[in-house]
């Protein structure tokens, strides 16, 4: 019975996951060649090219910005999830709705609107001018890109942590209180360790889209600002070098796998799967 029901999923993943991945791999390890029968030949040239400092700097910058925005999401998201988990059921549902509603709007639209807020003659700078302060350069820099990532990905951090926190057994906390633990000890010894699975799903779910984004860096970084996602996009859409593009995509996948492996090490084995996935 189990076998039967799993067939559609297996077919689905072969067609839409495994086959495309193999294609990316094939493109990544080949270069175009006129003499060969298939039109391409095996080569590690793409990877060698990526090792040039110019591309490594782009990779490093993407990883660094993704780490920063993940951390910021965690710092903002964790306390928020705690407040959420502690409030009454009615308020809680309202808050969750408030977090989720912006996600119903198109992601591009939300990012574009930041451009009009942060621009030289945007809302913030106009306000500063009215109260007599000098205008600031808010758009097209690291800060704007990080802001865009935090703004867009914060719900992915809040929701899994919140889910874990609400499922936590209140009795444990009461026992700890009865035994004389203060609030700090309760948090550091009980609440935080127990919420770790949620934190870890949150981190992975923010880090992954952040490290591979190309829209946020393009709109809020102004096109002269490249992250690894932009490098891949450009190779596919404009330069038409799918081989180099696939190689970069493979390297990006390795980076993400590596990050997830580190995360898994910290994950509490028994509580696995308490988060969103």
């Amino acid at each position: 019975m189990k076998k039967f029901t799993s067939y559609p999923y297996i077919i689905w993943s072969v067609i839409f996951i495994i086959f495309p991945l193999l294609l990316v791999l094939l493109y990544g390890i080949t270069i175009p060649s006129k003499t060969s029968f298939f039109g391409f030949k095996l080569s590690i040239e793409n990877f060698q090219r990526f090792c040039e400092p110019i591309y490594l700097r782009v990779l490093w910058k993407s990883v660094w910005l993704a780490i920063l925005s993940t951390l910021i999401c965690l710092i903002i998201g964790y306390p928020f999830s705690m407040i959420l988990a502690k409030s009454s059921l009615k308020r809680r549902n309202k808050f969750v709705l408030l977090i989720v509603i912006p996600m119903w709007m198109n992601f591009l639209l939300r990012t574009y609107s930041w451009m009009t807020i942060l621009g030289k003659n945007g809302i913030i700078n106009n306000f500063l001018r009215i109260i007599g302060l000098p205008a600031l350069d808010l758009l097209y820099n690291d800060g704007a890109v990080i802001l865009g990532m935090v703004y867009n990905f914060l719900p992915f951090m809040i929701l899994p942590i919140y889910t874990v926190l609400t499922k936590m057994n209140r009795n444990i906390l009461e026992v700890a209180e009865d035994l004389g633990a203060n609030r700090f000890v309760i948090f550091s010894k009980i609440v935080f360790p127990l919420s770790l699975p949620g934190v870890i799903s949150g981190i992975t779910m923010v880090f992954m889209p952040a490290v591979s984004t190309f829209v946020i860096s393009k709109l809020l970084g102004g096109g002269q600002y490249w992250l690894i996602g932009n490098l891949v996009e450009e190779q596919f859409l404009r330069i038409n070098d799918w081989h180099f593009g696939s190689a970069i995509a493979l390297i990006l996948m390795i980076v993400i796998l590596f990050a997830m492996a580190i995360m898994n090490k910290y994950e509490d084995k028994e509580d696995r799967g308490v988060g969103l996935w």
Partner: protein
């Protein structure tokens, strides 16, 4: 009871007929640059020929090329520029157009026919033409603008917008250095790359169509712009002005073509003919602000626009300007160097 039953049957019958109509309508896939047509014209075409136009846009020639070349699309009409048409002809991506079906072809002025990229004019029908130049805000730029050098002037740090397009960016750097925009010399191109990297710190953003809005809102002082956009933007904000640098620039022609992806060549030809009809060409030109190669439409054009030196520059102004040629295999060098420019931090 009986009456209402008949009415019901009648309504069902009508619905069947109407949905039948919807399905039979032929579809025409038009692939054009963003902001480059008066969309009313598309509606008129739909009405006149009882077809449905599926309209999609692209921001650069390169993107259009990749999408058509990789397949999986069924565009009937596209509007690439000169060098891209040359490349697409070479790579056998275009259908020959039967000029007998383009009755309005005679309306196109002779100087736009048989240009180098399509010598016998078998594959393309002129749509618009223009130049690349510097659009600047007189309020923010005091000096006289007549050279590309101003885009490298540190005084305008974070006030400069460049086009996010590889050919155009390299053309500017090459012209600044005094080289041809069609150079096949790798050293010259490397030099141009160094110039672009040097300039990067001063550039506020590399933009596509969003740059136009930024110039109107005065978010930047200087921008590289196409002449037609400049005409339009100067109407929106009177502080804006447009110049073609003395050292020369890029003179370009955008022509309508029928890619091999087309499944309905006949309808595509009808569309091209329609767009070349004087009244339609006029309407379209007045709306988008670009320069029409259609002499009949030109005659009808508002005098102010006809005498506008931005849209219709004198020979003298464009004497140093060149038309792009397809770099062929050398394109790989362009691609590599452009990636390096964009990846540079």
């Amino acid at each position: 009871m009986k009456k209402s039953f008949i009415v019901l049957i009648f309504i069902l019958f009508l619905i069947t007929i109407m949905t039948g109509c919807g399905e039979e309508k032929a579809q025409l896939y038009v692939y054009n640059w963003g902001d480059y047509i008066d969309e009313d014209v598309l509606d008129e075409f739909e009405e006149e020929y009882n077809v449905e136009v599926v309209y999609e846009t692209y921001p650069t020639n390169e993107e259009m090329y990749v999408k058509i070349n990789q397949g999986g699309t069924k565009y009937d009409v596209a509007i690439p520029s000169d060098y891209m048409i040359e490349k697409m002809i070479k790579e056998d991506l275009l259908h020959k157009i039967d000029m007998n079906n383009i009755e309005n072809y005679d309306n196109v002025a002779d100087r736009f026919k048989n240009l180098d990229f399509d010598p016998d004019n078998e594959y393309s029908v002129p749509y618009m033409w223009g130049t690349v130049g510097i659009l600047y805000n007189e309020k923010m730029v005091d000096e006289e603008v007549n050279s590309w050098n101003i885009l490298w002037d540190e005084e305008y740090d974070d006030e400069i917008l460049m086009l996010d397009s590889q050919r155009d960016s390299f053309a500017i750097a090459l012209k600044k250095l005094g080289y041809s925009i069609n150079t096949n010399n790798e050293e010259e191109l490397e030099e141009a790359k160094d110039e672009l990297i040097k300039q990067k710190d001063l550039v506020l953003a590399y933009v596509g169509d969003e740059g136009k809005d930024m110039m109107v809102r005065e978010e930047a002082a200087l921008s590289v712009a196409w002449s037609g956009d400049a005409t339009y933007l100067m109407e929106e904000n009177e502080n804006l002005n447009y110049v073609i640098p003395k050292k020369g620039s890029n003179l370009w022609y955008d022509n309508m073509v029928i890619p091999k992806t087309s499944e309905n060549k006949e309808l595509a030809e009808k569309f091209i003919d329609f767009m070349t009809r004087p009244d339609i060409a006029l309407k379209n030109t007045e709306y988008i602000g670009y320069s029409t190669p259609n002499k009949k439409a030109m005659e009808e054009l508002d005098e102010e626009l006809r005498n506008n030196s931005v849209a219709y520059p004198s020979e003298e102004e464009v004497i140093n300007s060149e038309v792009f040629l397809d770099p062929g295999e050398f394109l790989k060098v362009y691609d590599r160097l452009w990636t390096e420019v964009k990846a540079h931090q």
